[in-house]
């Protein structure tokens, strides 16, 4: 039997960034079950699709900072959340960890680094 694939939701307001992340994770054999570009979409998709892991951009048109992360963690404490954030957001990152983010990745990232982080979060 083949291993069941981890279901991942990609949240980022940049289509370009989502495309890169999505392809990278697909190639690594993960199941990308959805994408979201806003906080509202992210909440809706999470309720509907029940991902096991979310890659989460913190700066979205309707979310600035850690509100969305907090809400996601409250509603779905078992979902692993990996924050994907651009450099310059170091302050927010430590807050994100306090709020239950499993780990974080800084944009721009190396493919290896992303896969390593996600793998270690899932183990």
């Amino acid at each position: 039997m083949k291993q069941k694939k981890t279901k991942i939701l990609v949240v980022d307001d940049s289509f370009y960034m989502r495309t890169i992340i999505k392809n990278m994770l697909l190639d690594a054999g993960y199941d990308i079950i959805g994408e979201a570009g806003t906080a509202a979409e992210a909440l809706e998709q999470t309720d509907k699709l029940k991902p096991e892991l979310i890659t989460l951009d913190l700066i979205l048109p309707d979310n600035n900072g850690t509100d969305l992360l907090q809400k996601l963690k409250e509603d779905h404490p078992n979902i692993q959340i990996v924050v994907v954030s651009a450099v310059g957001q170091e302050l927010i990152l430590s807050k994100a960890k306090d709020l239950g983010a499993a780990d974080y990745i800084t944009k721009p990232f190396e493919e290896e680094e992303v896969l390593k982080t996600i793998k270690s979060v899932l183990n």
């Binding site: 083949k2 940049s14 960034m17 048109p61 651009a86």
Partner: protein, 541 residues
Amino acid sequence: MSRKDEYWKIFITETREEFDKTCLNLVEFEKNPSDQKLVDEVFRLLHNMKANTKAMGLEDIGELFHVLENIFSQIRTNKLQFDQQVAQAVFYSTDYIELLLGKIEKQESYEVDSELIENLNKIAGGEIYPNSYFSQKSKQSTDVVNITDQVNISIKDLDDLLNMVGELVIDRDQLMNIASKVEYDSIMNLTSHLSRVTDQIRDKVMDVRLINVGALFNRLPKIIRDIASAENKEVEVEITGTETKIDRNVLSAITDSIIHIVRNAVAHGIENPEKRKEKKKSKRGNILINASSEKGVVEISIKDDGGGIDYQKVTDKAYELKLINEAVKNDISKRAALELIFLPALSTSDKVTENSGRGVGLDVVKTDLEKLGGYVDVDSKLGSYTEFILSMPISIAVKSCLVFKVQRSNFAIPLQSISSVLKVPSADLYQIGDSIYIDYLQKSVPLIYLSDFLYSKTSLTTKSNLNRKLLDIIIISYGGFMTGLIVDELLRQQELVVKPIKKPLDNLEYYGGITVLATGDICFILDVANITKTYNLEVTA
């Protein structure tokens, strides 16, 4: 398109969009400096552009966005005011970025002024007053607006345009006809020029509607991956010919069919790894998808190295469902038996799917292709492979057709469906049962006398109906069947703008479209698929 090219395209489009939005928001923000939403939005956009340019490897322009983001990070937390000095620096920077983006879009080399970044950093750090760098620079600055080379056209506009070109071509043809009768030099010259230009417009309009089949093909690996994973199968997919061009609407019309066949190939064709091992096949199944085009026809082939189709079982099932009689069952060729999987009754039967490994929904695939004037063909070897070949016109609207007369009306058949045109003495025809035949390429090809077929609703013609010595016969080929059509008079080969037949006439089963000829006469385009089907059912039933 390679993945790198795809990323680049998305990056350019998105960055341009975000940058334009940023500039708009900045102008608004200058007017309403207390609007927190605007400053948050500017910050978010700068933040994205920074991350994306850096991810694209454009480090230095990324740095420029980074320092601007820092400035707005200060402004949104009220540590810095967007006053005249800061505004001057920011607007100078956006003008500067506009120039850079223009170069990046054209893939030209560029350099970012390190002095600019340095001075912006000073502003972000609070030391601005007075900053002579920006006041100097702003004086020299000229407004540059890069209007993009690309425009977006909706497919609706292109459809309208194509329709109008169609009308133009029809009018042109009629005008040419009139001009040739008038024999007036200046009119002749003018119409022949008009004719050339009309052709060029038509070709151009058709061209801009073409896209790469990659637009669909690039989505297939993910779909295959998902089904394979759900079915616990391992599948390798190889895709070639992604740059093959096809009309956007044609591609859109066949998308579901392609996905359907691919789905079937993974779910029912490819065996699971254990079974493949038993059969001494590689553990991973293979699916080859290819597109190619020739002479206005695009061919897409989807081949899997799975279990293949058991055509004996298909035949038995068809017999059981009374789709074929016993004589046909005992005498059916492999090819004709494989064709049976496209019959609605068979293709919706789950049992057949389980037993033969294929079938569900293939009737829909066939109908969809026929609507486009295309067809689907299947080849398979039990135990080793199944290949579906979908053939369709590059474009729907204009077709090269052969125009002919039956009784007093004009008809046409797309050249794509014609194998050959023959002139034969009626003595060469022979009769078996209710049908007449002719030998063509060492095969017995059944003949339809269109005058009888179209006007008296029967395909049963006896040799005695044909009182001419020499007969014009068009051999049409559809789905592996060849059929000869006896016509009354061959006219010419012509590019026709085929219009769909609208209600309430859309149920005329033998007609696939309609057009107006240069003479102003109406011409029906025959539906080769339906004629072949009707005829072959009448013969085999």
